[in-house]
């Protein structure tokens, strides 16, 4: 089987593509909808909004999540906000501008048509969420408030204190629970997808493990929708939740779904620095802090161990304001992260290990007063103090970049269908809208756009265009997939080696961060490509997974996920190695300008790298989907 990549972008002018496509797509007769059974894996913004909306339309939906409730999906942790081209500030925003900012922010490595549609439906998302009761921040006049975010010169970000992701997810979750109560959605909590099942080349079901009983179950459907989030935990330390994993998308990849741009990972500039070797995760401080905080390090390396109050104003280097005067502290994430790394590489980092820079609110507090800063960021400041035991009102925060989001994901066409018929992929799990770098407050927008406003249309087209023979779990494809999962579980439990799963995960994370992190080069990536298979080999020989399969077994859950990360990490490095340019979050040190800026290579690399799985031990096959830019001018990103 070989993959052909057809993005199925509708013909016609950019602004009219989605409208035209909506009309051209086939519809499913209302009375027939309930005969179709859809599986949605994941209950974050994309999954919950899709499951709820599809059920409202009349489809019969099964939704799966690994958490104990769909309300806990990691979308909940998004702090800052959600973008929408409402232009409520009258500051020159428009669909066209949001589209352009997103394409440019992504360093011209995203599809124009998808991004334009995203900008178009962004306005509907806000309306929908308000109707659901999402308590967005408001002005005293009762109208919605906005804030600015990195990479944009307009104020288009809607927010609910520092808990926007939580509030949007709770909105989608409540819609989902309503549908569960109405019988349209059957919810499977504490169930983890471990295999995708194809029948006659179409995605027709999944195999899951009931994480309480340990039972391996098969579920059939007419189409499968993955909304399982990103793979940032390949780095072990990231801002992702502990349970976030690549397993669902990786299993789908091994069944034929192309994996696109896996090396495009986002390093978020404002996280709390690592405190010690026991660290289990990194905590993000919302990018919105950069609205009022000023980033600096000492000008001289020898000052970096001094108390910040001991460093005179003229001895401070406000490096973002210096290097990027027009965007300053609001430069895009990749640029801000790399600048922090440079300062620390320069020996001017602060805090333990010299891996931190200051984010200082002293100016903002003296300009706006402490109550205003408390109103805007109170909960973030409290969180910072709880973790670090330092008071950010009186002492600048220490921040450092951390892995936060993954732009890469399963390749999808304009209809959000992967290279497997019937397998649709939404949200962070797909690759589609953010190119090589995502702008702040755009992840929530994309998750909800896919779930509320895109998949409900495109899935109907797929269902109406295909014939579906009934299948049962007795079908040989299901029996085989089920047996494969059982076998894998048995193998993991039988190794009984000497190292814990976490120790392997930490080691993999260290390799990925060192060789495929904020800066990459060919030599390092080649080293990683030798180290990872060795580590994987040791894992399958020496991992220790206590307990049995037929029970709640958190070690077993982790082992399965880490086993997949150990395969996936290699693909990431391969992808980073083949992309011989620097763009967005992907910075190859060999490809930079004299002043250290990323050097893109549009002639050779203006494509989506979509990898096809070629079988155990075989090198994956690279397919290239060329990116055509007809509506924007390919320019060197400049935020100076």
């Amino acid at each position: 089987m070989t993959i052909t990549l057809d993005a199925k972008i509708p013909a016609g002018p950019l602004a009219g593509k989605w409208d035209k496509h909506q009309f051209d797509m086939k519809l499913v007769n209302p009375v027939n909808k309930r005969k179709f059974h859809l599986i949605v894996v994941g209950s974050g913004l994309a999954g919950a909004s899709a499951a709820a909306t599809l059920s409202e339309l009349g489809y019969n939906v099964s939704c799966f999540c690994y958490q104990d409730s769909p309300r806990r999906a990691h979308s909940i942790a998004a702090q800052g906000g959600i973008n929408a081209a409402k232009n409520y500030r009258n500051d020159g925003d428009s669909v066209q501008r949001l589209f352009y900012d997103t394409i440019k922010g992504g360093d011209f490595r995203a599809r124009e048509a998808n991004v334009y549609r995203l900008a178009q439906v962004s306005v509907d998302i806000i309306d929908q969420c308000v109707a659901q009761g999402v308590p967005f921040a408001r002005e005293y006049g009762g109208l919605l408030a906005n804030r600015s975010f990195g990479g944009a010169q307009v104020s288009r970000t809607f927010y609910a204190r520092g808990q926007t992701g939580q509030q949007l997810l709770i909105g989608a979750y409540q819609a989902l629970e309503k549908e569960i109560a109405g019988g349209g959605v059957t919810m499977y909590e504490r169930h983890e997808m471990l295999e995708l099942v194809l029948v006659d080349g179409k995605a027709r079901g999944i195999v899951v493990r009931d994480m309480v009983s340990g039972e391996i179950e098969s579920h059939t459907a007419d189409a499968v929708i993955l909304a399982t989030g990103g793979y940032g935990n390949v780095f072990y330390l990231s801002t992702n939740a502990k349970g976030c994993n690549v397993t669902a998308t990786w299993r789908a990849h091994k069944k034929g779904a192309a994996f696109a741009n896996p090396c495009f990972t986002q390093i978020h500039p404002t996280c709390i620095p690592v405190a010690g070797g026991y660290q289990s995760k990194l905590t993000l401080m919302s990018e919105s802090l950069r609205n009022d905080g000023r980033v600096w390090v000492p000008k001289r390396a020898e000052d970096s161990t001094k108390e910040p109050s001991q460093i005179a104003e003229e001895d401070r280097d406000y490096y973002l304001e210096r290097k990027y005067p027009s965007y300053g502290n609001l430069s895009p994430r990749d640029i801000a992260s790399r600048a922090a790394k440079e300062a620390c590489d320069d020996g001017r980092g602060v805090g333990p290990g010299g891996l931190g820079v200051y984010l200082d609110f002293a100016d903002a507090i003296s300009r706006l007063g402490r109550p205003m800063i408390e109103e805007r960021y109170g909960n973030l400041f409290e969180m910072y103090q709880r973790i670090t035991d330092e008071d950010p009102y009186t002492r600048p925060m220490r921040i450092y970049p951390a892995v936060h989001y993954t732009m890469g994901g399963l390749w999808v066409d304009y209809n959000l269908m992967s290279s497997i018929d019937g397998l649709h992929v939404l949200g962070e799990a797909n690759f589609s809208d953010h190119g090589a770098n995502r702008l702040g407050a755009s992840a929530l927008m994309q998750g909800l756009a896919d779930g509320y406003f895109v998949i409900p249309y495109t899935i109907g087209h797929y269902l109406a265009s295909n014939k579906f023979e009934p299948v049962t779990t007795a079908h040989p494809a299901f029996v085989a997939a089920n047996a494969a999962v059982e076998e894998r579980t048995r193998r993991l439990l039988s190794i009984n080696g000497t190292r814990t799963v976490d120790s392997f995960h930490r080691e993999l994370g260290r390799i990925m961060w060192d060789k495929c992190g904020m800066a990459r080069d060919a030599a390092g990536l080649q080293q990683a490509l030798e180290l990872i298979p060795k580590l994987r080999e040791e894992f399958w020989r020496n991992v220790k997974v206590p307990g049995i399969g037929a029970e709640l077994n958190q070690s077993l859950e982790k082992a399965g996920r880490v086993a997949d990360f150990l395969e996936f990490g290699e693909l990431m490095c391969l992808d980073a190695l083949q992309r011989e340019e620097s763009c967005g979050g992907h910075f190859r040190t060999e490809y930079q300008t004299a002043d250290g800026e990323a050097m893109r290579n549009d002639e050779q690399f203006a494509y989506v790298a979509a990898w096809e799985y070629a079988g155990e031990g075989q090198p994956p096959i690279l397919h290239k989907e060329p990116l055509a830019f007809e509506n924007v001018h390919l320019s060197t990103r400049s935020y100076k």
């Binding site: 958490q67 104990d68 509907d124 929908q128 308000v130 006049g141 009762g142 029970e551």
Partner: protein, 267 residues
Amino acid sequence: MSGTSSAAKSMNLTLHVWRQAAAHAPGGIVDYPANDISPDMSFLEMLDVVNERLTEGGQEPIAFDHDCREGICGSCGVMINGAAHGPMKATTACQLHMRSFSDGDEIWIEPWRAKAFPVVKDLIVNRSAFDRIIQAGGYISAPTGTPQDANALPIRKPDADLAMDNAACIGCGACVAACPNASASLFTAAKITHLAVLPQGQPERSTRARSMVETMDLEGFGGCTLFGECQVACPKEISIDAIMQMNRDYIMASATKVELGEWAGSA
């Protein structure tokens, strides 16, 4: 540098942990040493370290729910020395740091206890009763479509703020765990209040209050006797004022005639 250079002052602790192999298996307190614990670790990182050592020693690690580890997903939550989420105010177990304890301390760790939250394993409980309370009416019926423009409905800032205060609930269950009656009143009332103070929430306000309150009772939670333990345990500092709102709405709803079929309640 306060808080960052304390790795040297590591602590030795004794844990008394509830272990229970499965829902219907007998359980009991088991003691474990937790040595060389850094004050900068989070409480869950301390448990990670203990689990790593248990695993290496061939024992089953302690099962506990956790996910985001930044205090927002609501997965984690255990009784720590008799207090839900431990001694720090407005802090989930994952955000509690070991600097709240001292060298030589004994720490009692137990699962949430409520009939409606049966133990699944060790410190993990089943909180699906909360989902069913939401199913009973904790939503605004607004199917995906094209509603009116978001700014067509101005909402007074104090109302939006009050809605947000109550919408901040993370569904962790600490209120139930801390309540001497194992009541879910604060959880239920927070959702009722979030939606009751918004204009969008008015059409379903009565049916919501009745249906959610009655589902809460049917799930086997206790009643509120206003001890006030819940609002102290709540990591998001939700006020028991919400419970007044719930009672008011429930009284009003009971006095209102409900059309047949309008109310998807449990009775």
